[in-house]
Point group: C2
């Protein structure tokens, strides 16, 4: 039995020994290097561009500007294609542009024999700009006289509004108190270890082959096809090992350009890799949100209504656009599902780097707003934060608000109880003074989250797997789902071993995806892979097992229904000690008997039509050094209900990573954009304060194992959830320690100083 | 309809533009070069070897000798694994040896940072030999006091004898004449354009990846596993484009060594490529045969018996060993199947390069013997050569002699009739003088052949194919069968298009095989691929078509049985003008509908249990310049019954290539081995006389299209057959012109001089 065991990662040895090959580890004879020319201004237009000197530089193969590109306008968001045109992503991007929308926008591209020559050529290009007023502040974007960042948009990408869960007016009337707040989150960046890198060439079939660090090879294929107006079958995308993505590689950033360049240059291999400074601004960032939130409560603590009014800024280009705010709102309903929800959400443009998908996909912003507001509501009633959450938390019998689907494994209350125990909530509450006044004050805080396990019913949820029984009785497993560091390959190998009844070491997982040969899957996003990919892996393993047992029946004359596979051997199901033959013997017969058999393989492409919510919470115990405006976390626990934990070791690692990211956004990180000029101050890892190991406390992960019946192994999402609740828990603990409610992020000394000053604390 | 049409090769553009990548076109960072140290003597033992200086040379990573290798003794023949130990290939090979068996035997190997350093290191290795008597002549090999080339073999690999087709004694009694002859063939080499090249490295899973120019990737995997005692699943073999093999790459020559070296050196990539001189001696050659043949005829020309006594010499190592002689005998029965056959065959060792598979696999040698003997028999009866063949040729109702299977598409008589017409046999016979006496004399000759379409029932005949319906309505086809220049990829694409009902251009064939992901197939040999692989392609296409039509039924509510696919559109079968929807629309729905479908794929692994004989003949009109001992071919026709011709253009190309190779062996080629020293005189393309375009006459290919009912498209083998009958036809024409029967090859001036001198002609 492999599921539920702390199996070592299938890619562990490869990664620590350096055997794992990432996109930039590959090279090809004659490969050229491409580099972008990026705008120095944040908003404006190119009046003239002179590439004469650059083109003439020896070693330069080509210089292409916005004048040379296809007219096609395309969308870059890594969503599965939708046959409903009303559901299409916003197409607002061309390969290059003369309309500058952020500082770093791509005006031209140079291809040269090496990077140094390419950089020299970039320096020789002369550009004259006409500048417009940069729009960074939300109010500036929405001002009546604001210039349009994209024509005929009034700077609005999209907006929507709805009420779910009941009658809004009635809920309002039933509320004893209405607590209002406005919560703002900042721009942060993914900071994955491996920058965006891609290369392309034309192969023997004159197809364009793109090797790229992506979460979504099959979607890259589709978007490049759309961007270059080529049939999808003429594009082949290969995904080697990926050094982190966090959603930033769920966008199609470099691939259309490398494909265009190799097409233009006769099929030679061309590599385009961003350095860190480019990656920080030229890929994607997290949408800043401003959420006005109203919570309606009864005196006993029952939440009757939650009213969001969310404003999300996507920056220069739509990318995932309004999907972020829409998904964030939808996923927040599950925590407290007996309230009536009213949602208004609007996504706007701004003159800063395009915001796209990032771990949590809007939910960190929305969870921050909701669970800060819940804390404020509890406090306004004088209720204990935990009691208040427990009173309103999801429980058996609750339904999803929008689709009216039952919530089948609601583990939130158990998570809260467990977190409360772990942090010793009651003892600390009892021991600590009711009111603190010294320079260093202790605070306890907590926050909850809910999340989903995919995108259904908004998007198609397809996954595929292929299994081959090898001659030695082991199997090769290929999945369309992509390992990007999260451990999905290991989970799939465990599932296959579990269902087949073979040792874990007997599953060889092919980690590279290649759209020409890999089963279709839309990729790594929405914390979908274990949940959605698991369906395909399980069904493929079942199919293979059935074929194997049927074949044993054919060989032996036994009834295949009476047989089973146990630890790599065919056994009699009722008397498993009775070995019939080894899997290797079955395989050898199937491959090599002259008159029967054949290679035994199985392949399933499966569409999941359920979507289970995961739950959890963060509990934090911290100290605030008031005069120094500094926070020190003493203890922090994330407690997760992700259904059955497929691999406790990897699950813990996943939670640790997410907590670190959540603490980073809570306490340290912000991409600093000058609101007047659009200039970016800290496009590098020295000035952008991603926390280091010195900044992160001991991270404690705990699990409440429910069983999710819509998943073959009882599991649900865990990829993104760990990032959701640390920031609001920290904010709530600071409020607990100081009495100051800080409704923005990050909670760094600068922010604390401002609020402590305003409130007279210092 | 794509089958039967002269479609352009799917790899044509890639090959003429240089886009096709062969093994040596790939490189990897840090790749090292390996070179063999080869023996300077032909028979003996290494007494001492000193690698000290070589190992110390800067840039040398390692020097390995016969002392450093695994003890495992393995077989290299590229046969499918047999579960019957009695049917296993002869294991007589280690990675390196101290027992020298031919001039060029592999004693040691150097790995260095580049080829120059490797060559320098080779020159620094000091070897002392003890020499034994080289055994080259067959009589020397079989002498009572001959030293054993392989211990406990008495220099015999294997022998067998049988009688088929009736009672031998009775057939002898019914014969009026017994005509005896002894026919000898020489050592020739394949001379494929691309020399043997392979490289290996260890991948992320610590599996050994071998990229190699091979005909048989799945068999390479198995043999490397056996040679290194590793599970097969830990070995991955990738086959890029191959520049010809002709059987020489149906042997596992370099792969175990590169795998061993990367294992020894921590997984670094190591490339081993042979230069032409090494390839000529260090790979494989064609077995020389000496066949004593007796034909028993009645006065009316009826052949009653054919008695082979064949001696085949495999050289230094068994490689395919006795299979060559055994297969050659078995495949010769089909031409004149009403005779009783008696066969004795023995394969022996000799101190010259190992003989292995080569186009025709023994049949060129056997066909030479049989159809020279048939000519001699016709002449001894005073019968016309054509009449005599027609009288005895296979006809409807005949059975295979050994398995008693009916011969379902016997087109030999029609081939003979067509050849006779084409060369204008009767007119030339009538016009030419009955006896010629001048210096330049004209001759007409012909010879027939039969061949099979695979190896069943001797070996397993497995093939696999995988199809994916792409979003744009095209398909990707992957096959386990290997394109090595013969055109099989194009044939498979035609078959898939035909059965699916889509345009030929809508089939994208993935030409590279990768044993981790490519369906199982044993590879390119025995002219099996169109016949055996076609079964898998057809069934896979049928499966995909059924899935597509079933899905259309699901979408539309129509009965899928009433639907068909025509030119890429779903139509109503009875009224094909009624388009239901395009294949692209079906695909988009299957991929992207949220509530139904999935990627539509199909995969079939199929074992063929039939084996159809192909037939044909060569007719030649030539002039012999007696004093100059030179032959000039004026007209030469090959006429083939290969069932339905899948692609007339490629079939003609295949026949042209085979005829050129047959003429080469008939008139020019011989690997010259000194019978006393075992020294090889002409291990290069300057001294080895492979014919150039200047040496080859216009080649005329003609076809008789029968329909072979055991194949889904009515087809049977064409890969090897064209090489079989040119040499005996030329020999028979020289006999016709000069009256001199020359029973050895090649028929070059040296040979002609010897025989013309002996017979007093000059």
């Amino acid at each position: 039995m492999a599921v539920g065991k702390p199996m070592q990662r299938v890619d562990g040895v490869a990664k620590v020994t350096g055997k794992a090959r990432y996109t930039d580890d590959f090279s090809m004879p004659g490969m050229r290097v491409a580099k972008f020319l990026r705008s120095s201004i944040a908003h404006g237009r190119v009046v003239s561009i002179d590439i004469g000197q650059a083109s003439g530089l020896p070693g330069v193969d080509g210089v292409f500007t916005f004048k040379d590109i296809p007219k096609t306008v395309f969308a870059t968001a890594g969503h599965p294609f939708s046959m409903d045109p009303g559901h299409a992503d916003v197409a607002d991007r061309q390969l290059l542009t003369d309309h500058i929308r952020y500082q770093g926008d791509e005006i031209a591209v140079v291809v040269a024999e090496n990077e140094l020559t390419a950089r020299k050529a970039l320096a020789l290009i002369k550009v004259e700009y006409e500048t417009y007023k940069p729009l960074v502040r939300m109010d500036d974007v929405l001002a009546d006289d604001a210039p349009e960042i994209h024509k005929r948009t009034r700077n609005i990408v999209k907006e929507h509004a709805y009420v779910a869960g009941g009658d809004w007016q009635q809920a309002k009337e039933e509320s004893d108190h209405l607590i209002d707040g406005c919560y703002e989150t900042q721009v942060v960046q993914h900071c994955h270890l491996e920058n965006h890198t891609a290369y392309a060439y034309m192969d023997d079939l004159e197809h364009i082959v793109i090797v790229t660090s992506t979460q979504i090879p099959h979607i890259v294929r589709r978007i490049v096809g759309q961007a270059l107006e080529l049939p999808l079958s003429q594009i082949r995308v290969i995904k080697p090992y990926v050094g982190g993505g966090f959603g930033n590689k769920q966008d199609v950033v470099l691939e259309p350009m490398v494909a265009f360049l190799t097409l233009k240059l006769g099929g030679v291999p061309i590599k385009l890799r961003l350095d860190r400074e480019e990656c920080m601004v030229g890929t994607r960032v997290r949408h800043p949100f401003r959420v006005k939130l109203q919570v309606g409560v009864q005196k006993d603590g029952t939440v009757k209504l939650i009213n969001f009014d969310a404003l999300s800024n996507t920056g220069a280009y739509a990318s995932h656009g309004h999907s972020i705010a829409a998904a964030a709102a939808a996923k927040a309903h599950y925590m407290y599902p007996r309230a009536v929800y009213r949602c208004q959400a609007r996504t706007i443009y701004g003159n800063f780097p395009a915001a796209g998908a990032m771990r949590g996909y809007g939910s960190p912003q929305m969870t921050y707003a909701v669970d800060c507001a819940m804390e404020d509501a509890a406090r306004s009633l004088g209720m204990d934060s935990v009691e208040f959450r427990l009173k309103n938390a999801v429980r058996p019998g609750d339904m999803n608000q929008i689709g009216k689907r039952p919530i089948m494994s609601p583990g939130l209350m158990e998570c809260i109880e467990k977190g409360k125990q772990l942090i010793d909530w009651e003892k600390k509450r009892a021991d600590w003074p009711a009111s603190q006044s010294g320079p260093v004050r202790r605070g306890l805080g907590m926050a909850c989250f809910s999340y989903l396990s995919g995108t259904y019913p908004v998007c198609v949820e397809a996954a595929g797997a292929h299994l081959v029984l090898n001659q030695d009785g082991s199997v090769h497993l290929r999945v369309g789902a992509t390992e990007i560091g999260q451990g999905s390959d290991t989970a799939f190998a465990q599932m296959a071993a579990e269902t087949l009844g073979i040792p874990f070491a007997g599953v060889h997982l092919v980690s590279t995806q290649d759209t020409d040969v890999t089963p279709f899957d839309t990729g790594a996003y929405a914390s979908r892979q274990t949940y959605v990919g698991g369906q395909a892996v399980m069904r493929t393993a079942q199919q293979l097992k059935k074929k194997i047992l049927d074949y044993v029946g054919l060989i032996t004359g036994m009834n295949s229904q009476d047989l089973d596979i146990l630890d790599g051997n065919i056994v009699v199901a009722r008397t498993p000690a009775t070995a019939v033959m080894s899997l290797q013997d079955v395989a050898l017969d199937a491959y090599y008997d002259k008159n029967r058999g054949g290679q035994i393989t199985a392949e399933v492409s499966y569409k999941t039509r359920t979507n289970a919510p995961s739950f959890g919470c963060t509990f934090v115990d911290l100290e605030v050094d008031v005069p120094m405006c500094r926070v020190r976390i003493d203890e922090i626990f994330n407690v997760h209900d992700c259904g059955v934990v497929i691999n406790p070791l990897n699950a813990e690692g996943q939670v640790h990573g997410g907590m670190a990211m959540g603490i980073g956004a809570g306490l340290f990180e912000v991409l600093m954009i000058d609101p007047d000029s659009g200039r970016i101050y800290n496009n590098n890892m020295l000035d952008y304060k991603v926390p280091t190991i010195m900044d992160i406390p001991d991270l404690m992960a705990a699990f409440v194992e429910t069983y999710e019946p819509t998943h073959p192994y009882g599991s649900k999402s865990l990829g993104e959830p760990p990032v959701l609740s640390p920031a609001p828990a920290i904010r709530n603990a600071i409020l607990d320690a100081t009495g100051v409610a800080i409704n923005e992020l990050p909670l760094n000394p600068k922010t604390l100083f401002k609020h402590f000053k305003e409130t007279g604390l210092i």
